[in-house]
């Protein structure tokens, strides 16, 4: 049997994703767009434009296995276009509802910690935020992050180190609190 890569080259139409396949990535694109835009309404615009642009250019995707990286790359380009064209109003001073889903429901303690971690990430400079999100949340390799952002590997590594260091610093109090409580709870159980 030929390798999948060969199949894709011989008959590219077979590997073109139907819209349903792209639709499965809407959530991923939206969450990345949230990191780029920091606002739900803008993130929705970026997501919509990304999916439509991907649909129009679906012939360029020869291997569905790399659809995730391909879509994230398109989302990055869409956001860069938005920035260039200033297709949005400046961020309001009074924060609006930041995301859909569980925003109106009381958060669990775990969700609260995750929300604080995301908030800390959103305070990072844009490049560090993007690199950290792609490497940690999307678990992309350094090379894939470089491809998505259109930068070189050393630049990714450098931004990632800075971002991780900054995150540890920003979340240190929360970590000490959570970690200290866990240690105390473990100690009381032993007693």
């Amino acid at each position: 049997l030929p390798e999948p890569r060969q199949c894709a080259r011989i008959e590219p139409t077979v590997t073109q994703p139907p819209f349903d396949a792209l639709e499965a990535h809407v959530g991923m694109v939206y969450r990345y767009a949230m990191r780029l835009a920091g606002r739900a309404d803008l993130a929705e615009d970026v997501t919509q434009e990304t999916l439509l642009r991907a649909w129009r250019r679906r012939h360029n995707l020869r291997e569905p296995a790399v659809a995730r990286v391909w879509l994230l790359r398109i989302a990055t380009n869409v956001w860069n276009d938005f920035l260039r064209q200033k297709k949005f109003q400046p961020k309001p001073l009074v924060s609006e509802v930041e995301c859909h889903g569980r925003a109106d429901i009381e958060r669990t303690e775990d969700q609260e910690q995750v929300a604080l971690a995301l908030a800390a990430m959103d305070e990072l400079p844009p490049r560090q935020r993007q690199v950290l999100y792609l490497a940690t949340c999307e678990e992309l390799s350094i090379a894939e992050v470089a491809e998505v952002l259109g930068i070189n590997v050393p630049a990714v590594k450098s931004s990632l180190s800075l971002a991780r260091r900054e995150m540890r610093q920003r979340l240190q109090d929360l970590y000490n609190e959570v970690c200290g409580r866990a240690v105390r709870e473990a100690g009381s159980k032993e007693d």
Binding site: F19, E23, V26, G27, Y30, R31, M34, E44, T47, Q48, L51, L52, W55, R56, C99, H100, G101, R102, A103, R107, T108, D110, Q111, Q113, V114, A115, A117, L118, M121, T136, C137, E139, I142, K157, L160, S161, R164, R165, M167, R168, L171, Q172, Y175, V178, C179
Partner: protein, 184 residues
Amino acid sequence: MQSDCDHLDDFLSGDLPDSKAGRFTAHLASCEHCRAEVDEERWIERLLQSSERLELESPSPALLEDIRSTLTKSRQHAGVLAYGLAAAVVLITAGWIALSGRTASKVQDEPVADISSPLQFARAVVSGENMIVVPIAYGDPDVTVVRLFPTYPPDGDQIVEANPASAKEFDDSLWSQELHGDTL
């Protein structure tokens, strides 16, 4: 001189070569600072990779509907363009025939498509005046190509009675009988 603590970032990135990674792991046992940094880093990673993050930032159902709706419109727009292209083909063909002064008799051996609906379409385009409309056999059932034959010379005022029935009076059955036969 570089201390073992300086390898913390490379260790966390997985960039430390095996030889140095072993040494750094040994260093962690004795360095409380580096150990705390590594533990906190792993804790942050767990937070950011947890399922709670997906729950917190799920897109609204309306977004998916919007995307589907826009895509449907985009497809319809593409359809309109395709029809527009077909109409352009018809008009260009008509213009070419009119300018070249070709007569129907020169092309009577051209394969004629076995379809009737293009006649209605072509009538709408040319208003049915002094024209003979011949659909041309074409491989794609979704594409219609017709050739329009003016029944007057390019420079003339005089009507050439190439066929006793004018295009205005054609109906589909007459069309079928006369154009598929030898009347032209």
